[in-house]
Point group: D2
């Protein structure tokens, strides 16, 4: 076996023919444009494999202890890949406005929005369809993936297959979190008791903060304003942690959310306990992974604004605004993000009753 056979170099380098599938008609700028998109698709392929493998780990019940570090490494790899993807926009920006316009119109209605793999990543992660930002075009994102004749395309097939391939990473990770024993048996009762203590700590923290504000010689109005804001915060915190933030949710859903959120608070708060270190690393890597994707979305918006300004996208989207809005709104692991705003400093954490259960010794 030789390098060029293994890497399929000749076939790979024959895929930059563009519109007419004729490389002699494609100038350097358009070649760059095509290649950067191809590189994105290659990275996305890796991301999908990694996420899929990690997802399958969480299909197991229980998740074997030996596989949590493995799953975390998958997420770290996805993070490393998206960090590459973020910096590729620097290459794209070597394309000036005028040069990009030379071939831009020919692309209509093709658009990066038609990247099936990016949609697959969102599906596999578990992005809720209800929070998707609509494109300028009518219909769902799936419309954009249809062929010119309105029929299903290879892109459609990819997305449909992915939807059919099983539950999302989010769904399965949340189920695993809901099973976490919280300072006692794995139960709603343990989770609830733990959360009650956490909420009490929040209350005393906020009381102290208001007192601090009073001492710092702000005006009475300022103190009142802060007190009102903090009161609102603690009411929100309690409702969120207790899974009571959605009046339409049924009792089972509330209990599930409560247990998920209790588990996240628990893992983040007592992360040094040896049996909790990997679960906590895993949860933290979900945040870092999603953050990296959000940075990618915002960096994408900045590249588009720089190269073509605030024009309508080739696929008919609102361009820069659409991209910026996705970054502000898309959050897959909303419960993990929500908890992040509600963690407590160490001295205020409740003492555990069963701390010993979470230790183990390496040097015996």
């Amino acid at each position: 076996m030789n390098y060029w056979e293994y890497i399929r170099v000749e076939e790979l380098l024959a895929l930059q023919g563009g519109f007419d599938n004729d490389e002699s008609k494609v100038n350097d700028d358009e070649t760059l444009f095509i290649v950067v998109h191809q590189i994105y698709e290659l990275w996305f392929k890796l991301v999908l494999r990694e996420l899929s493998t990690a997802r399958d780990i969480f299909r197991q019940n229980p998740v074997p202890d030996i596989q949590l570090a493995t799953a975390t490494r998958r997420f770290k790899r996805v993070i490393a890949i998206f960090e590459q993807a973020i910096s590729h926009f620097k290459v794209m920006e070597t394309l000036t406005t005028r040069d990009y316009l030379e071939f831009r119109d020919r692309l209509i209605p093709a658009s990066g929005f038609q990247s099936a793999q990016l949609r697959e990543i969102e599906i596999l992660l578990g992005l809720d369809d209800a929070i998707r930002i609509p494109l300028g075009r009518e219909g769902s994102y799936k419309e954009a993936l249809k062929g010119a004749d309105g029929k299903p395309s290879p892109a459609t097939k990819r997305v449909e297959d992915r939807i059919a391939s099983g539950p999302s990473l989010k769904q399965l990770v949340y189920e695993w979190l809901a099973r976490t024993p919280i300072d006692g048996p794995s139960s709603d009762a343990s989770a609830t008791r733990f959360l009650e203590e956490i909420v009490a700590s929040h209350r005393s923290e906020i009381t102290a903060r208001v007192k601090l504000a009073e001492q710092q010689a702000l005006t009475a109005e300022d103190v009142e304003r802060l007190r009102a804001r903090y009161e609102k915060e603690i009411v929100f915190a309690e409702a969120f942690l207790m899974g009571e933030d959605d009046p339409d949710a049924d009792a089972e859903t509330r209990s599930f959310r409560r247990r998920v959120r209790a588990a996240i608070v628990f893992l983040e708060s007592y992360r040094e306990l040896p049996r909790l270190t990997w679960p906590r690393e895993l949860v933290d890597s979900l945040i870092e992974m999603e953050q990296t994707m959000l940075i990618w979305r915002q960096r994408h918006a900045r590249m588009v604004e720089r190269v073509i300004g605030r024009r309508t996208g080739t696929g008919g989207s609102a361009g820069v605004d659409y991209l910026d809005q996705t970054a502000l709104r898309y959050r897959v692991f909303g419960d993990v993000w929500g908890v992040r705003g509600l963690l407590l400093r160490k001295p205020t954490l409740p003492a555990l009753r069963h701390e010993g259960d979470y230790h183990f010794r390496i040097e015996d």
Copy 2:
């Protein structure tokens, strides 16, 4: 002279005493927090020096030919510095939520919003006060810079001195742009004639694009919708380029804007002409510089969201939302950004009447 005297190492390493000015009471996490902020202030000092030097170049009329490459290099240096600043958030993110909370409350009401130098950068660039996003606190950003006793502070002094130090970079660069000879003498007439030809090219581009849409078998409604959108775009483009986008502006202001915008279109469109290459590099580096600052703002938002979630900031701001909104709204060089969305591809550019004036020979 020795390294430690030249760099002032000992004095520098004695500034991390924190709240009590006693390093033994500051743990590793808080030391990191302090040092990263100090590093930001050091970078900001460099940025202010570079921007100030560049601004002074444009105080001259005419700007000596020999100094345009120099000014551009200043902006490139600012870009290089902000790229460092962007990546420092990765270090800050090694601070976990729980660890940051250990010392966060002690900081209230201190806040990164009190960085006088960041405000100075905005002032020196020429950020319009009217588009500033208000903090949670009442009053302008200057309120936040006052001491605890409500009296002017060193931060106040920095900002006041900067405001008094002269016109902004934006003001002076725009005046220089307005003097650019546009394919003829430096005059409103040349600018207007040139812009009329540019608007005509826009019209024919859009006509072609609508025709394309019709051919591509979209529904009649889609075609109509696109036609309406494009018509709106051309009306907007003409008003913007001609300086007629603000009904309240007087004739002189309109003429000034027209000439500024004509110059930007001209420089970007004919950038290879030897006498235009540096002016165009300079204008492009303004965009890149502002873009880099926007990326820094968004990356800042992502760091804060990751470390503490959507809490109220220590200075009373709306935290993540405030930071994200500044990135969406703050644009210093609005005319340059506006033009970027209105450039044309090369084959549609009007032929110049005086192209010869913009050439020179290197190899004689």
Copy 3:
């Protein structure tokens, strides 16, 4: 407390007066030069705190289970910091040769080589003095830290205090590794038995590889050459793993090395076993940390070569060559690097007799 008091902004921004301690005599280029060095010193301060904290964790015997993830996080933070440091050279490179030369001669004999903190980092890590590359000047690196009058300086004091502050990270980590129980009790016998099995696996791997070479129709000379090289490799591998690579070492030293190296092979080879995941993360982060420092050294060489070419350094060093040589030669964790070249693929690893000892359950 305000931001400017907490961060000590005014004092910090008053330290860029250079040679005459008079900022008005320091141009923008030299200010940049000073500030970048100050930023390096600030980062180094953080690195020293983190390494010192990590070192102290390993002063304990046994190292509490709860602290291994903490130590690893320290190393990850050092890595994040050195990654910043690597990219700062891009800012330094905005200084052109001609502009740097404007003030370079005034600096003689000051030199980055006089950074006491960089020497402290090397000392704290445990860089062996015997592998240090000598500067052009006579005497040890400590000579370079003396004052102009040849007397001890603040830099001397820093380095001496660091040397006196206790054993190096390397020494303590190696002692902890030597205590690791290797598939049985913590003993030389367990380590030796394990290494014998590893060496046997190496032998069969190499036999297979030679067979492969024969099949691949290389010339007989090629096969012979490869066979000789592989034989040399296996002899080297065995001597290294067994701690027999240094004929001058006494029996105790050999045993210590054997146990250290056995532990590294063991941790890397069975890293998924729950009780081994953190120790393995820790060992891997040592490699990543040292790698990042080497990348920093090489990037430093490339910056110097770009800005001033292959001149003699201001401190009298051989400049670029000196920097490149340090990267090729300086390895603190030589045993970890050595083992990296001797790991085996999973299917060839010996089966553990006591695998059960290394498991634990998270979901009970």
Copy 4:
């Protein structure tokens, strides 16, 4: 046209079948390994297009003034691409030693050394065959590109075609530099006179530096040692600048080198002169481009050392050492690097007699 047709998504994502051309037999780690190499090949394709376009600009005599900024932009794009390539090693490093070993042996004798495009880049730039570092295998780098049967391969064809495609970028850029008029007509006499003045300035700089050393109370031996070193430096500088550094070179070659080197000194020294700014940018971007490739080579060495240690490469090379040595030794634009070490600070530069010839006005 749709995105998936334009980008050739389906064909692209079908090229990761590895050894058996069967993706189901390729695990996630190997897929990553294949994809990263494919991404490198795609970037290399872009680099080759950009370098080829830039090279063709220099085929013209004279080079049209309008194209120097264009050529510089090509190099800037190559730089942006190699910066991506540098950071991809971070993704590769998510592959641990043990995991890479799972499939490494199957690859023998395939090796990254068989990347024809990387060889093409070196050829197109103009890397001198005489300085190439030999692999472990006998014969030239071309041997490594042959098929298993010893016959020419697609890789061979690529390299041969590239060699036949015309002179190197180095050759043509040097010819353009040799034609640069140096403060007078384009002639050997102008170049020589200019260099004589430069050498005289070097002499007085060095005299001053020795005086400085004497004052700084170093020992008499230190002063003598420095004086001897500086004397050696000035002798070397004169020989190099005057093109007399190679006793075997004929008069024509010496004159050519003299003129090339004079042009580089001239452009770097008087870079603000408006007619020199782009030629200087271009020369500086050659240095930056080559530097970025060297950083890529060293970073490559660090990745290999981290993942597999100091093993023999799959292609039979000496692995890490081979890669490190290429970075130390490979320099395409040796004359530009050489001059970088011999530039002078501004106050010591000779006054130009014809400075007016290098000005032009932008604002008339």
